[in-house]
Symmetry: C2
Subunit: 275 residues, 2 copies
């Protein structure tokens, strides 16, 4: 998917919501546990309920790997289900991989060729080798960690370098030349909305994937205020706040309600910027 | 496994070799492709042939994920085979994961509880949250990337901070307080042997996992010279140089020969240090 197509979806849906599929067998409503594949049954119901209100889905791979072979199977089925039924959705593998060239090549093949994700999250620590093989796939994206929403982001990401830059700023400045605005996004946490302003100075035109709204305490208004560019340029992720909005038989309806509420706020924010 | 037990193995085997199981279906000898599970058949033969000469195995997860469900199954079987037949071997999941707390918890459960690996490699970019959940498992290890062997390690890992330290030095100094010498190792590439000296000043007693000997051009002598401590403190990994030493029917014998040769050099280096 090109950035133009993604922006087209945002405009059509009046939403820049990404639904995080952190699907945990321990949190799947009890009535689904008798299903042949409870993880997939849960995801399918969540997707059917929320698809009108979002433009992207982000399965978090840890949750599927934790379920072993069946988890991996559920992940494959989820991506296929999205592709077949909601081809307009942007699908992100939240994998946070990062390895040397020959290994990154294998991961690129897994996520882009075997499973047909649109994008993969990557940790930049090891440098450009990490991302390069992902750029070989036309229409696919690398989503690089820049400034994350967790407390210990300050351990290294915000360290000052000898020229006064912070590490995450250098990550942005270096990596923006690895790819283009049509194949590179950055993860910037919503819990650090004021720093989005600094990020936008460096990468004014890139899409940002923003986790941390909701459960982690970030504010959507702040994110839009500091992070939105003239093409929107944001995908804001919510996971637990949507998919676990209810733990009962009404989980899908509750997820739809939570997603619709965020979509409504997003529509207003887009309108406020004349989009 | 405790560091004392690991050192006991190194002393008994006269080896600090780790065999990297980067098992690629495209490189498995043709006569194995008819097997029900070629990846596992290959691994089992490699393990049986090399176990006398090494103390650790390191499956690289990308290679198994690239083979989809069957790959994941082969990985599970490989770990189980090692546990049942070679319980003295230290098993490292080369996964380079790194995520926020609740996700890291899932990964810790996958690798330590579901699959019974001894250790997992982690990328430190997101800080201590990344590693903490792994320390909750007694006898298990976090192996943190410090200074890797790839060319683009210089993009960020060797950047100078405002106090003159390099980023990887700060990673060592901060993270050495997250765990202990009994649950934390560091990845330091063999292609930067001279920098091992600087690493040893900061973490004199930790085990180092050293990739890059062989295919990537690192020298075992240099690694031992600058990286060995009084308890050895090294696991030196070789992947392609051992497992793909031959692509024919004699692949296992060729792997044994390559592993035995490295073990012989390691025995001499240990003896030279009075171990």
């Amino acid at each position: 998917m090109t950035s133009q197509e993604l922006f087209g979806q945002i405009g059509a849906k009046r939403s820049f919501l990404c639904v995080g599929l952190d699907t945990d067998l321990k949190k799947v409503p009890p009535h689904l546990l008798g299903d042949e594949d409870p993880l997939f049954a849960f995801n399918r119901a969540i997707i059917d309920a929320t698809a009108p209100f979002c433009v992207a889905y982000k399965p978090n791979l840890a949750f599927y790997e934790a379920a072993g072979l069946k988890g991996w199977g559920a992940l494959v089925k989820t991506v296929r289900y999205l592709r077949e039924n909601y081809p307009e959705q942007f699908i992100i593998a939240d994998a946070k991989r990062g390895d040397i060239g020959n290994t990154s090549q294998m991961y690129a093949r897994v996520f882009f060729q075997e499973m047909d994700f649109d994008a993969v999250t990557l940790s930049p620590y090891m440098g450009s080798d990490t991302a390069e093989p992902f750029y070989a796939y036309a229409g696919k994206w690398a989503v690089l960690l820049a400034l994350t929403s967790n407390a210990s982001a300050q351990d290294f990401e915000t360290l000052r370098l000898e020229n006064g830059e912070r590490l995450y700023e250098r990550v942005l400045k270096s990596s923006m030349h690895w790819g283009t605005e049509d194949n590179t996004m950055y993860v910037v946490g919503a819990t650090r909305a004021e720093e989005l302003e600094r990020v936008r100075v460096i990468v004014p035109d890139h899409f940002l994937l923003v986790p941390g709204v909701g459960a982690q305490g970030g504010s959507l208004e702040e994110v839009a205020k500091f992070g939105m560019n003239s093409r929107c340029g944001l995908l804001v992720n919510s996971s637990r706040g949507i998919i676990y909005a209810s733990s009962g038989r009404d989980f899908a309806e509750a997820a739809a309600t939570a997603a619709r509420e965020l979509q409504g706020q997003m529509a207003a924010l887009l309108a406020g910027r004349g989009m």
